[in-house]
Symmetry: C2
Subunit: 374 residues, 2 copies
Amino acid sequence: MSNLKFTVLRTDPSCKARTGILELPHGPVETPIFMPVGTNATVKAIYHEKLKEIGYNLILANTYHLYLRPGMEVMKDFGGIHNFSSWNGNVLTDSGGFQVFSLSGLRKIDEKGVTFQSHIDGSRHIFTPEKVVDVEHIIGSDIAMCLDVCTPPDIDYRAAKEAWRITKNWAERSIKERNSIEDFRGNLFGIVQGNFYEDLRRESAETISSMDFPGIAIGGLSVGEEKSKFNDFLAFTASYITMEKPRYVMGIGSPDYIFEAVENGIDLFDCVLATRMARNGTVFTDDGPLVLKKAIHKMDHRPLDENCTCTACRRYSRAYLHHLVKCNEMYGGMLLTEHNLTYLYNLLKRIRKSIEEGTFLSFKREYIARYYGK
Amino acid sequence: MSNLKFTVLRTDPSCKARTGILELPHGPVETPIFMPVGTNATVKAIYHEKLKEIGYNLILANTYHLYLRPGMEVMKDFGGIHNFSSWNGNVLTDSGGFQVFSLSGLRKIDEKGVTFQSHIDGSRHIFTPEKVVDVEHIIGSDIAMCLDVCTPPDIDYRAAKEAWRITKNWAERSIKERNSIEDFRGNLFGIVQGNFYEDLRRESAETISSMDFPGIAIGGLSVGEEKSKFNDFLAFTASYITMEKPRYVMGIGSPDYIFEAVENGIDLFDCVLATRMARNGTVFTDDGPLVLKKAIHKMDHRPLDENCTCTACRRYSRAYLHHLVKCNEMYGGMLLTEHNLTYLYNLLKRIRKSIEEGTFLSFKREYIARYYGK
């Protein structure tokens, strides 16, 4: 049961990197693609129309946040997030598994579901896998993630195995719930867990791959572990996931991690990093991150990036952007957000081009060397 | 000595309200007009290009703030605020008199000038009238305000008289300094003071009017006094200022105050209210201010204002804007800022139209009645 069509266009001859077209209810998306995070049905500090102008047609929102605020009564009243937020592109909703793990004061997981406390008012709520699918159906998600059990990098084998057992059970129940909703228009993606244990990761990847999901996500990575561990477990896990479906790594969004993911045949990723960094005054460039607060930029007439097409780079100097950041001016956060999202969109465009030309790995090598100033 | 041309086009038959064209170094401005405040060389939370799209061609910046940050070294290096901030419209700079009065921890005024402490790092600085003219020349202000002594509404006659005496002396010294700068390209405006004493106000208005200023401002109003007192002193003071030059009331920007000012033949006004209110979730409408935090808006599908052309009104419901404000999302502040500035620009357009049609007073009556829900 699927409302998407995924076509792989080209695969790099030397690795698993691939380009494709993901056709979703609100239009096509070229992959691999980065998805900006719009937690509260708004990507922070940027106009919807700017997102569209840059080229984005798939953003992420959080079931956990939207469930608490504006709440399901409002979502129902507006017929879903697209109408409520006036965003006519695609929306992927995270299930809340990660938010409950990272934001909630209280979190109690059992076979039935997860009990948690709202970070807004402390009220208690229960998410079951069935309820999350229902909520995502009301939200009208184009891609809806299953409820899963996300675990920190330091738990023991027994706990990791139990978390995966519950995640698997919830995946089955999520599919059942989805199948019971006659007019379900979204696409329910499964999530691979298994912590940092190879046998659990392999079992999880193979099991989730074999289930009736139109897309597969890797969860539980980029949760605080070292980068080499991330790389190893990404490559290992990805190798056991079907290549037939779109593959998504959750929670990554810096250029170095993106290259790593693409090399392993990942098509989708999301992260708050690009927008959060921007609001704190740091931007991506081909020469690595630029911290605009630094006094070195005070009189610099150059744009952030000679080749970038965003408003900040077309119109403003580093000196003016430095000034805005120093003054804590909202316009600084707005311009730098537009820059980082433009930068990542264009980086993915360059990556897709390199895959089409069969030069992905050399592009990666050159890019990473320059990014780290080597 | 003037680099402006001011042409009165139409005066209302029943009051002093008038339309005009103010030609400035960076293009013409239709009057009466509201000037958005861009303290740090940025009108908070709005793209420069949006300001231009709305129709604004004259914004305000603060000498006090720019002097402290980015500082004059940067301003010189960039050849002024237009190049530094990439704003190609006109800029009026406040002299710092009011900021020193309202922001500075320490303020010591004597004949020579004012000693103050930076609100950023506590460092000590001196502004003399000459120095302020020099600084505004470096900034490249299209309209530069003289340094004045701004006083609170509760001081005695003796103190008010002394403040006006110094203001007058500083006005003369400001003109002398301006005349000594060969390539001074801006327009130095004088400021009327006199606190809330009629004889001082009259003397100040007549004296500043008679001096070699191409424009006259009324300062020291809207500093905490009651509205009726503001109205009385505005009308009284304005009646003694020349009608030949552009007339500016400093620090007002709500619809009711704007109508009052226009009725008294005021051409220019500025205020942080529109943009500050917006960031706090309140917007102007013909039916009075709308506080978006209120739960009443939670499911309201209507736009803020049926007739408004801003992004918020064209694209979003009150419910979505309520949600953004409740979530403290920057996009809320951005959209509401755009709304309030669009609203005020269009209100002034309606006011100018009513003056052209000779119906200003009836428009004022109807507008105010609806605004206060009568």
